[in-house]
């Protein structure tokens, strides 16, 4: 029992240990930011590596907490993303006053996500979700001198409180009609009864807030713009990815009797999300806002994959999020460096960027191509697999519209590429010396973008662990 406890909770325990270590580090003698960052990055790497060893399947706490190979993979993806973000924020945190607090907040949030992903019970799910959200709102305020940053935090806390309210209402209705909160037992009590559908709709609205699907996306752009780049990338990659990871089993298992309903909901939401996200992304000049809207559109594509309700759909969602981690973080990595060292965040500032920073230009270009879904980058494979899974339902119009929207998204990604390579600028961003840590993370991201797609075993492995309705 005790060994089982330790093995199944392995990844959570490692993170908890790191949190305690950091607390002790805080209590101890003053250290320079550089040495703290080195220690943290090393610990996070250990954390990532540890995730790959000695995993087992099983449940504890009376089925409240479960884990299996797919969940371990999902947590590893989040660990990887967090490590990359940490490496990338090196240039920003080097001069920050509260480095350890920053990591404490984000690690707590990550821990919450792990519990959420592993949840086998709606209560556990809710606990994990809240544990992951509240520290994030504090972290959004971490550009201490900027008013925008506090504004972002305020917006985030209010909107997530509201969405949590919806979510709780949905969960309580589910409990009311089924008398249980366990994923495994809920399906036996659900049917297409209006009350059950209402419960689902409320529940899903709460989730839609978290993944910023249209029409619950309005907080996204402001929060992304105001928050520090590191938090923005955490929000857009880790936090969104975690909710999507847990959404799939909840839909496929707990709400399985309502499959017809949620298929329709996903269908409509996916379409609207893709279109609105794209249309708003076209007009943005601030790169963080731009990536906020582009990430909304990406979520729409992921919803198409989820709506497939097949093993191929689930595999493509997990695979896409992995690809998204690499692509989005490569883009955010460059933006974070430029923002920290040159203080510029607008598309127009990037004019003539190639002349001064060829390396960073190529990185962000490859990242944008991957986000746009152009081969040979992994983004192409990710999008292709999502749509191919979605097409299995025979909804060729949905697929057609999604495919045409890829062309629209292509326009705004190319707009940035055009600014970097083709537009001339009197005063381009001057040459940026990239520190070792961010450089390493950019290398990893680019390698990931190029290899995860072409090397088919990644997708095959995820597929072998996935399941359908």
């Amino acid at each position: 029992m005790v060994t089982e406890f330790f093995i199944l909770l392995k990844q959570e325990l490692v993170i908890t240990a790191i949190i305690f270590l950091l607390l002790f580090l805080k209590l101890g003698k003053d250290r320079s930011n550089e040495s703290i960052l080195t220690i943290v990055n090393f610990l996070l790497f250990v954390n990532l590596a540890a995730g790959f060893f000695g995993s087992q399947e099983g449940t504890i706490f009376h089925d409240m907490f479960r884990t299996n190979s797919l969940i371990v993979i999902e947590k590893n993806i989040l660990n990887l993303a967090f490590w990359l973000i940490s490496l990338q924020s090196y240039a920003w945190l080097r001069t920050h006053k509260h480095v350890i607090e920053f990591y404490l907040l984000l690690l707590t949030s990550l821990l919450g996500m792990f519990f959420m992903i592993s949840s086998g019970n709606l209560l556990m799910f809710y606990l994990g979700l809240e544990m992951s959200t509240i520290p994030l709102a504090a972290a959004a305020n971490f550009d201490l001198a900027k008013r925008q940053s506090s504004e972002a935090a305020m917006k985030m806390i209010i909107s997530s409180a509201f969405s949590s309210g919806l979510l709780l209402f949905g969960i309580s209705l589910v409990y009311g009609v089924s008398g249980t909160l366990l994923f495994a037992e809920i399906p036996a009590h659900l049917s297409a009864d209006p009350l059950h559908i209402l419960a689902f709709i409320l529940f899903f609205s709460g989730i839609a807030f978290k993944i910023s699907a249209v029409p619950f996306h309005l907080w996204t752009a402001d929060v992304y713009e105001g928050a520090p780049v590191a938090v923005t990338s955490f929000l857009s990659v880790v936090s969104k990815g975690a909710v999507l990871f847990v959404l799939v089993p909840i839909l496929y298992k707990a709400f399985q009797p309502l499959a017809g309903t949620w298929y329709n909901v996903l269908f409509v939401l996916a379409l609207v999300t893709i279109i609105i996200g794209n249309l708003f992304a076209i007009r943005q000049n601030n790169l963080k806002r731009f990536l906020a809207f582009s990430s909304i559109a990406q979520v729409g594509f992921i919803l198409v994959g989820i709506s497939a309700s097949s093993a191929a759909g689930m595999a493509s969602v997990v695979f896409f999020i992995l690809v998204y981690v690499f692509s989005n973080l490569a883009a955010f990595g460059v933006i974070s460096l430029v923002s920290a060292l040159a203080g510029k965040e607008n598309v127009s500032d990037y004019k003539g960027f190639y002349a001064t920073n060829p390396f960073l230009s190529w990185v962000i270009t490859i990242a944008l191509f991957s986000l746009a879904g152009v081969p040979p980058t992994a983004g192409f494979f990710g999008k292709f697999f999502l749509l191919i899974a979605g097409a299995a339902k025979g909804n060729y119009w949905l697929i057609g519209i999604a495919a045409l929207n890829m062309v629209v998204s292509f326009y705004y990604y190319l707009r940035v590429v055009k600014a970097i390579f083709m537009d001339s600028n009197e005063q381009p961003i001057s040459r940026i010396a990239v520190p070792v840590a961010p450089r390493l993370s950019l290398y990893i991201c680019v390698a990931g973008i190029i290899l995860t797609g072409l090397a088919s075993f990644v997708y095959d492995y995820i597929y072998s662990l996935s399941y359908g309705l």
Binding site: A312, A315, F369, V374, P375, P376, F380, F384, F385, L387, I388, A391, A392, G394, Y396, I399, G400, A403, L404, M406, V407, F410, Y411, L414, V417, K418, F421, M422, D423, S456, Y459, D460, Y463
Partner: protein
Amino acid sequence: MNLSLLILLPLVTALVILFCNGLKQVRVAALVGSVAQLAVSVRLLLLYQAERTAGNRSPMLFESKQEWFSNLHINYHIGVDGISIAMILLTASVVVAGILVSWTMDKLSKEFFFLLILLSMGAYGFFISLDLFTLFFFLEVAVIPKFLLIGIWGSGKKEYSAMKLALMLMGGSALVFVGLMGVYYQTGSFDLMQIANTPIPLDVQKFFFPFAFLGFGIFAALFPFHTWVPDGHASAPTAASMFLAGISMKLGGYGCLRVATYLMPDAAHAYSWIIILLATIAIIYGAFATMMQTDLKYINAYSSVSHCGFVILGIGMLTRTSINGAVLQMVSHGLMTALFFAAIGMIYSRTHTRMVEQLGGLLKVMPFISTVFVIAGLCSLGLPGFSGFVAEMTVFMGSWQNPDGWYRFATILACASIVVTAVYILRAAGKTVMGPMDDHYATLTDATWNEKLAAAILIVGIVLIGVAPFLINQLIMPGTDTIMMQVGKAITQK
């Protein structure tokens, strides 16, 4: 022969270019790589001929198949028939010529040659793919280099043209994608040969054929989606124009034939009247639009719209000869336009203008370039002895074989466009090459060795096809027969 070599060689060349320094190293690496590729292509041709004379009748040769994403039935499946080999040879010649023409490209030379090689890799991969996923993959690989080549090294309203081209081609591939999905879910396979043996119901074909055909059609300048062609070609640097017209537009024609028509022959029959209508409009409209142009590059670009209309016309007519003609026209047009653009580039680099009215009497100062220019023009208007004549003649003959009265009317109209072609070609060539010369052109120099070599490679191809058409006919015939068998099956089923 291992066909993967055709993809690996450009890949290695591109990687080597990344590690080179300075224009001198880069261009040598690019040239060595592309000449090696040409050698491999020629060897492939010889091996193919040997196999065929030895009596190998299988539709595709040198096939190899490896599982890629087995859960989704995606394989890396490659193989060639005569049509693909003709396209590969075309690509290889245009690439060598293009690299020779850009010999003195000193602006960001490493990036320039890298992108050229990457673009050619996309084309090679496309032509040898027998799996729809791989085919689609390579089709899109070739889009980004075009965007960057035009946008960075282009002239005029280059950003606009680059964006327009990229978006229209991406739109085309989005349509292709929907078509592929339909075929995939109907047959459960991405494998071209396997799908060809699986009957697809007529209503399914009728629904998905337009997506696939239109999608590829955009690449091949199908009217009314040809608008990227003039802007894109005119703004692109010389080598990129050559690649665009010589290689990239052929991806579309090849896709229309190999994917849309071959896999969904019933729908091709059902829709042939629309295809022919659009092709005829493109041919005539393109010819008349060319008449109005004053910029040499625009002249060639609009005439490309007209000439590519013949490709679509040949495919739409669905007779053995017309499809043969379409393939011939693709090869011929590829060589000829590449030559034309090369000549225009050479003239422009010396005179710094492409406006017909500002040019004149160039024959006196640059006889070689002027001759090349005239040869390209004569081939374009279909003078016997050059490839243009052979190809267009074959298309017309094939089209006439289709007994339908309206189709014959379309054929006559298409034939008539040749007169218009003659007008604009002779006018442009006459004004540019002959006539009085402006004094400040008197000091200009003739072609350098690399330009001569580039032109020679392309001219050899044009004349070879023009004088001995049976050589290439023999090459592509078995490929056409495979496609015709499929089309014939469709007719007899009715």
